[in-house]
Structures are given as structure tokens and as C-alpha cells.
Assembly symmetry: C2
Homo-oligomer: 202 residues x 2
């Protein structure tokens, strides 16, 4: 036997294309689907197809959505003059979980990376500028990742919006809650010191 | 936003049911499918459905196969009087990769585990006994895993076949090739010592 039967090998090959799935993991996934009730595999198949066909991009914030406009952009209870710019759709949920933010989002679907062909156009920055004008946006919170690409993107967006009547801010970088100061890296420590806030006693 | 749009959540939920896939991995898989070309997601969906519908069990060895009989059992060039008993279909490929074995296989799809409802019947042991008679099998190599369940299964099968005109053997347990003797656990070391073979110089 040179390999697995065709249909099994097809599943293995298709799983392997996904990031973080190596040869062994792809085999394990395929076999675990075979070992369970076959209806479950068909359910997964249907779910993937349904998602691939029906999920598009929100016409306003570029988040994934079923309709033309996502739930957040359609929500009349949210502050339409406050935008939070994030790299990925997953980042939206992380901010929503915090439960405090009540503005809208704008999803870049990446960070500026000329080598990967990701420039201002791919990140939708012209659209963001149009939204700022149309909705008379008051503040843009840039919540790109605190790494080289994310920082460069934040600075690029801030420069681009300079002179416009909108406040541009960056989320605070510092020691994470529950974190250990002794284990903090130098950059995080520096940012935590720079971003210190005064303790005001009553 | 309480969660992801329905179709995305469906994919996440279905991925989470697979072993070794937690909440974060399931989300990562779903989003990585959305970020790639949609045809690729449809291809994965098709492959999973095709596999779920078309893969059955070989009528002889119980391995996964598309037809009634698997490639190995259909291969006239293989020794039909030598059987290797393994726990899982994946184990077959590991033995085939070694390139030496030219007999047939018999897949238990598990090891004896009364708590999980896996007894002699579920493991197909009656079928194995019938095959041994029909094909006049010369030797049964038991290649179940060298853990408690696998060892118990090996001993159970050996006892069951006692008195029948078939040789029952067990694969060698010992230090793996490239392994480190200093790091070997006690059971492996004991087995490696017990299974020592004489060095014969020319």
C-alpha cells in the first residue's frame, strides 16, 4: 500500500493546506472524522461549504458577515463617531468581550506589508477616510498588534489622518493583567513605564 | 456582538468536536478557511463529504477502503498465510513504510476495553478466527500498542488462539532507533533486555 485510499488522502491533503496543520495532524483529523458517526463528518462538510458560500464582507467595516452590513454596523445603539481599527476579524471579538467599547470597528485584514502586497489600498484606508468624513468620526482608536508590522501600520494610519478633524489614539501597551513584572520583556516594560498613569487617592 | 456570524460559528462548533481541537484552534481553522480562496474551503468540504460517504470497511481485514476489499487484501503478491493484527488503520501505514512486511493485516479498531464497550466481538476476533481457518494462516503477529490496553489485548488474543495450528508472535519492544538509553523508561529497558539478541560475528 503506497498511501491511504483516495478519498482519505484527499481530506488529508486539504487539511494540510491550513496553517498549523502538519502531515500528522491532518491524518489524525481525517481518521477522527472516519471514526465518529459519519453524519458528523457530513455536518462539518456542510458547515464549511455554507460558510465559504455565504460569508462576505460588511460594506462598511469590512468584517465578515452574512448580509451586506454586519450586526455591529447595523446596531443603532452604537456610537457611530467612534471607530476602532483592528487587523483581523478575530480581534473584534476580543475587544467586544471586554464589554466596554460601544463604537464601531474597521478591519484592515492585515498590516502594512509591501512584500506581501499589502499596501494602503488592500487595507481599505481610503474607505476608512471616506467613512471618517461621512460619519463625522470623532476618534479613531488604532488597535493593531504591538509588533513591528502593527506599530508601523498604526504610525502610517496616524500620519495619513494628520490634519483631519479626528482624534487618533493607540491602545495602551503594558504588562497584561495577571502578568509578572519579572518576566516582562524590555519593550513591554518601557511602554508600561511610558504609559504610566497617576494614582489619585481620594 | 455576542459571537461570530452563524455560518462561521457552525464551522467552529463542528471543528471543536474533533479530538485535540480546542476553542482557539477551531476559530483559527475557520478563519484560515475564510482568509484563503473560497474554492479551497469548498474543496475541503467536498473531500470530507466524499470520504464520509464512500469510505467503508474491507470485508476481510476491516481496514478503511473504497470498495469491498482493500488494496492489500486484493494484492495477489502478498503472503495470505501471514497476518499482522493492529489496533488502528493508521498503524498499517507505519508498518508498510518499514517496507519489509509482505503479509496481510487485521484491524481491531481499538483495544479490549470493557468500559468503552469494546469486547472480542467489536474487535472482530471471531472473524479473525474464521480467517485463520479459511486461509490456513501460518503466523499471527500481534502489533497492538505497547501500553496496558494493547498488552492486555495481545495476551487476550494469544490465549484465544492457543491450541490452534497457528504461531502467535508479538512485535519486539525495546529502545527505538536513534533513541537514548539514558532516557529509556524502566519498562522499555526491561523489555529491551529481555528481548536481547545475540551478536553473531562472522
Amino acid at each position: 500500500m503506497k498511501g491511504y485510499p483516495g478519498p482519505i488522502q484527499q481530506v488529508v491533503d486539504n487539511f494540510r493546506k491550513l496553517p498549523g496543520i502538519g502531515a500528522k495532524s491532518a491524518e489524525r483529523l481525517a481518521f477522527s472524522l472516519l471514526k465518529r458517526r459519519r453524519e458528523d463528518a457530513v455536518k462539518l462538510s456542510d458547515a464549511i461549504r455554507e460558510m465559504a458560500v455565504n460569508i462576505g464582507y460588511c460594506e462598511q467595516c469590512r468584517n465578515y458577515t452574512e448580509g451586506n452590513r454586519c450586526n455591529i454596523c447595523s446596531d443603532t445603539g452604537r456610537d457611530k463617531q467612534l471607530f476602532c481599527v483592528v487587523e483581523q476579524p478575530e480581534d473584534v471579538l476580543a475587544i467586544e468581550r471586554a464589554g466596554e467599547y460601544n463604537g464601531l470597528y474597521f478591519i484592515l485584514h492585515g498590516s502594512i506589508s509591501p512584500l506581501d502586497g499589502l499596501g494602503p489600498e488592500e487595507l481599505g484606508l481610503e474607505k476608512l477616510e471616506r467613512l471618517i468624513e461621512q460619519l463625522e468620526v470623532r476618534e479613531i482608536i488604532i488597535a493593531t498588534n504591538p509588533n513591528v508590522a502593527g506599530e508601523a501600520t498604526a504610525i502610517y494610519i496616524a500620519r495619513r489622518l494628520k490634519g483631519k478633524p479626528v482624534r487618533v489614539s493607540r491602545i495602551a501597551l503594558g504588562i497584561p493583567a495577571g502578568g509578572n513584572i519579572g518576566y516582562a520583556d524590555e519593550v513591554t516594560m518601557l511602554r508600561a513605564l511610558e504609559g504610566r498613569t497617576r494614582i489619585i487617592l481620594e
